[in-house]
């Protein structure tokens, strides 16, 4: 089934924040710091205030004690939390930090006036390298802390030291998971309006989490939560970058209340690069203990995460997901992980598609390849050897999570068959002899998604779902998930339609408006279908029970004998004895012929709390040829076999896999946020920061195995991030494999052409 969302989006009939306008609306423009680290000495706003059309100029001093700090939801032992205000007060800690905001009657005049604000900065030394930041001599990002270490988190299980002593070999490697910029197609944007009659503050924001945002805005503004309404209209992508509470969201809401007029702020692309969260930025020093026969006994990792200057909502929690998933899809009995979070004078990192799991998958999948190389074994064989077997599930890992279900061997086998692995290896040998560099890369991944049980989530991990059958038999679904491109308006309608025996065209899915939808958690962590979908699925079961009871009453039979048919409720075994769906629905509303103690109406809500995460998995095979003269990487084949449990809509699943792989390709080959040592972002726009273009994307061959999840009744797992998690190591493994004849064992991402060319040149290709 095609996406129900697309006709309106393709025709330009969707309404994003910037498509909305209110009478009397003002525009905000933000002055941002050009310095990475500085003391704010003085701000002279008089010229800006005098400029044509300017209504107000606000600085940090104006919000001191008025607006609360930007929240961090991550709970880690001994986490240092510097106060983080919507506008800088006293100190600047990264380039792009908001210093002042101009509100004017027109967005051009607001922007012009920004240039008229004079700020006296006292520049301070900046630190941008996380390892240098940990040195004693480093400038401190926050003076009130004794050093730049933001947090320290450890896992140790299964006696790793003992395992390392028993090892035949120890394989070591350092991996840099570079800083990335999410670059959602629609930047952030906020429109806020305060209606003094009903005392209602309405905030439209391009967000993934409208309900959590509402709670936080109420807290930051000190406004009663029931007087705040947050609406996420059409959202043009998030990839985690809108799974956050940003200073601008509170600031614009505050301005609307203060000035008594609607205020809109739209982020420019430049601001989006500087001041929307970044992703990844980890250094992983990994060592594994292996037996000569290929068994991996233990893994140790020191993980240094560059968190940037401040915490955003989940900043320090992201690397803990790396920790939980670090053993990948292998039965490795012992582990020791030490994660150090570090402050630097850069934008905060936070959740970016995959959020912690791509880092884990990258390091373990690269490591397994290095083990194969070291032992002279085939990388497929080493993987097979260390997989848990199907009978091992549910499988408890030493990192403390329980993989719900899996059959890793079946997936790998299918991927190798589809790719023609044996033949590829023969072909590779031939081409190597001709001086051509063909490489074959594998990635067998597992990931943590359907986030998640509330015990493991900072702000609840459940989801709400409401199903309402209207008197005409049409159905309205309200979900606490907040889809922004994933397509749940389609897949949720399919599920409800299937359950009720009606057409998906008779179902509408409403989301993103806190006044319309019961409280929910939002869309992130590949959770919407497995958690939000399940809530809705359970709600519709309640309605089915009610419909059957009523139909039984109307037909004079025991409700247990009623089943759902196409557009009707039928007595089992007697297909002619039935009531139409509409008749039963109308009976529930007209309420004249109800069974005793039967509530009129047809609406049910479920708040679903999952008992565990789900753990989708898969096997990807990438085939590349490296141009020996230029270092250019050509992806010749890409085979993705994914297992996300039961599939509701294959088109949506394929779309998620395609998009995820493309995003991974960006990280593998060219994406890289580069700051210089003074904290200036050198890749500050799309002319410098390369995201994949259509011409960079290979044909992607997708296939699936199906291992249902026992965690939810639909048996679904989630697929929103799988491609991004799986594909980065598959591509890098392929390129490293291609250059194996030159003795190459690792190459740092991104695999820029010049980097590969230099390797080829140095080794005399």
């Amino acid at each position: 089934m095609k996406r129900k969302e697309d006709p309106r989006l393709i025709q330009g009939l969707g309404h994003y924040v910037d498509d909305l306008s209110l009478p009397g609306q003002l525009y905000a423009a933000i002055l941002r710091s050009p310095h990475a680290h500085a003391r704010l000495r003085k701000i002279d706003r008089s010229a800006a205030e005098r400029a044509a059309g300017v209504v107000a100029v606000i600085t940090g001093e104006d919000i001191r004690g008025v607006l609360g700090t930007i929240p961090v939801a991550a709970a880690l032992p001994e986490l240092k939390v510097p106060p983080h205000y919507p506008l800088a007060i006293d100190n600047i800690c990264y380039v792009g930090e908001p210093v002042a905001v101009v509100v004017a009657d027109d967005r051009y005049r607001a922007r012009d006036a920004v240039d008229l604000i004079e700020v006296d900065y006292e520049p301070l030394p900046a630190v941008t390298d996380p390892e240098k930041a940990l040195e004693k001599s480093s400038p401190r990002v926050h003076e009130q802390f004794k050093d730049n270490q933001a947090c320290l988190w450890k896992i140790e299980a299964g006696f790793p030291d003992r395992a390392f002593k028993k090892a035949d070999r120890i394989v070591r490697q350092r991996f840099l998971n570079q800083r990335l910029i999410p670059v959602a197609m629609e930047p952030r944007g906020v429109l806020a309006s305060y209606d003094p009659g009903p005392e209602l503050l309405t905030v439209w924001s391009s967000t993934q989490i409208p309900h959590l945002l509402r709670t936080q805005i109420a807290a930051m503004l000190n406004v009663p939560e029931m007087r705040v309404r947050v609406i996420a209209p059409e959202v043009g992508g998030g990839f985690g970058s809108k799974l956050n509470v940003y200073g601008e969201e509170a600031l614009v809401a505050h301005l609307a209340m203060k000035l008594g007029r609607p205020v809109k702020w739209m982020e420019t692309r430049r601001e989006n690069f500087l001041a929307t969260i970044h992703g990844r930025d980890q250094i992983d020093d990994v060592e594994v203990a292996v037996k000569q026969d290929g068994r991996i006994l233990a893994l140790k990792c020191r993980l240094t995460a560059d968190l940037g200057a401040y915490h955003q909502l989940l900043t320090p929690a992201i690397p803990t997901l790396t920790g939980l998933l670090m053993l990948g899809c292998y039965k490795i009995p012992a582990v020791k992980i030490e994660y150090v979070g570090v402050f630097t004078n850069k934008m905060a990192t936070d959740a970016y598609r995959g959020a912690g799991r791509p880092e884990a998958t990258y390091l373990i999948e690269r490591m397994v390849d290095l083990v194969a190389l070291e032992l002279g074994k085939d990388p497929a064989e080493i993987r097979r050897q260390n997989f848990p077997k199907p009978k091992d599930f549910p499988y408890s890992t030493p990192t403390g999570v329980i993989y719900d279900s899996g059959n890793y061997e079946a997936t790998l086998k299918k991927a190798l068959e589809l790719a023609g692995y044996k033949k590829l290896r023969e072909e590779q040998k031939k081409l190597w002899k001709q001086g051509r560099y063909l490489g074959i890369g594998l990635s067998t991944y597992v990931e943590i998604c359907a986030m998640g049980p509330s015990s493991a989530m900072p702000a609840g991990g459940w989801e709400s779902g409401t199903v309402r059958i209207e008197p005409t038999g049409k159905v309205t679904v309200l979900t606490g998930a907040s889809p922004h491109g994933q397509g749940q308006e389609t897949s949720f309608a399919q599920v409800v339609a299937d359950e009720l025996g009606i057409s998906p065209d008779s179902v509408i899915v409403i989301h993103g408006d806190t006044q319309a939808v019961p409280y929910g958690i939002g869309t992130f962590g590949s959770r919407a279908t497995a958690v939000g979908g399940t809530a809705m699925f359970l709600a519709v079961q309640k309605l089915k029970d009610k419909l059957k009871r009523l139909a039984g009453h109307l037909l004079g039979v025991d409700p247990k004998r009623i089943e759902m048919g196409e557009g009707k409720l039928v007595v089992k075994g007697k297909p002619k004895k039935s009531k139409s769906f509409l008749e039963v629905v109308q009976a529930a509303y007209v309420a004249k012929t109800l069974p005793p103690n039967f509530e009129p109406g047809l609406e049910a809500t479920t708040f679903f709390e999952p008992s565990n995460f789900t753990f989708p998995f898969g096997a990807h095979v990438c085939v590349v040829e490296v141009d020996a003269e230029t270092g250019d990487v050509h992806i010749l084949r890409y085979v993705a076999v994914d297992d996300c449990g039961n599939v509701i809509n294959p088109l949506l699943v394929d779309g998620q896999v395609h998009g995820g792989i493309v995003q991974a390709l960006g990280q593998a080959l060219f994406e890289e946020a580069v700051y210089d040592e003074n904290g200036q972002l050198l890749t500050g726009e799309l002319m410098d920061y390369a995201i994949p273009r259509a011409w960079d994307v290979p044909r992607i061959e997708t296939a699936r195995t199906v291992t249902p999840s026992p965690v939810n009744p639909m048996g679904v797992k989630g697929v929103g991030e799988a491609g991004t998690i799986a594909a980065t190591p598959a591509i890098v493994n392929a390129v490293v494999d291609a250059l194996r004849p030159l003795g190459v064992r690792d190459i740092q991402m991104p695999l820029k052409r010049e980097r590969l060319w230099a390797l080829l040149e140095a080794r005399g290709s």
Partner: protein, 291 residues
Amino acid sequence: MIPASFEYFAPRSLEEALQLLAHHGTEAKLLAGGHSLLPMMKLRLATPRTLIDLGRIRGLSYIREDGGRISIGAMTTHAEVESSELLRRRAPLLPETAAEIGDVQVRNRGTLGGSLAHADPAADYPAALLALDAECVLTSQKGTRTVVAKDFFVDMLTTALQAGEILTEVRFAADSPRTGSAYRKLHHPASGFAIVGVAARLTLDATGKGSAVSVGITGVAPKPYRATGVERGLLGQTLDAKRIAEASAQATRGVEPLSDLQASARYRAAMAAVFTRRALAAALGRAQKQG
């Protein structure tokens, strides 16, 4: 991405545009397709007081051949160059180059004249214009003058255009028999501009020797240049893969290659040689096919 305020004029004739340009002087910028100027204005890297939009002037968009000379109006879009049957037959180097510029949207709006006048050192067209020995026609209220491509590109973002002049036309000779050409490019992964772009055109005499060889290179230096060292190595020689490879090693002779995040000077120089060889080899193959 909000530009500073500016005054906007949309003249209907070239005369009117020249008058406006003379009146507003250096405060004014000419707007053609806008695909370089407008992004710079949105970032406030350019803040012209006045924009003179050439888009409504009739008669600046054409592709013609007259007696073996091809002329192209400055407002001809990249897409029109790319798809021109006349050019594909008579001077295929230019449509092949146009096809490598940006993406479909850029090619539908961007213009030949706009690109040349902007003189981005990584733009694609300049390489082809140099290889074609093209002339640029510059028009002012005083009349017109022509400048050969080699002299038109003065430096990074600087051309031979004087105050009050508008680039109105580009002219060059159509391919003679037994001529082959090719444009080969290593694109910047973010911007799509050329890290190295090489346009080669060569003509063979009856014995298979190179009777004319021209190589234009963009992206490598602050301004596009003719790789004269390469050309000298091939002129009058029997052309084959080996000779082309040898000559291509001279691609950056006398040039100091640029260096940036995507490509160091050393890498650029190496790639200039590789892409020169590839462009020449392709051009030779095409010339030979013509028998």
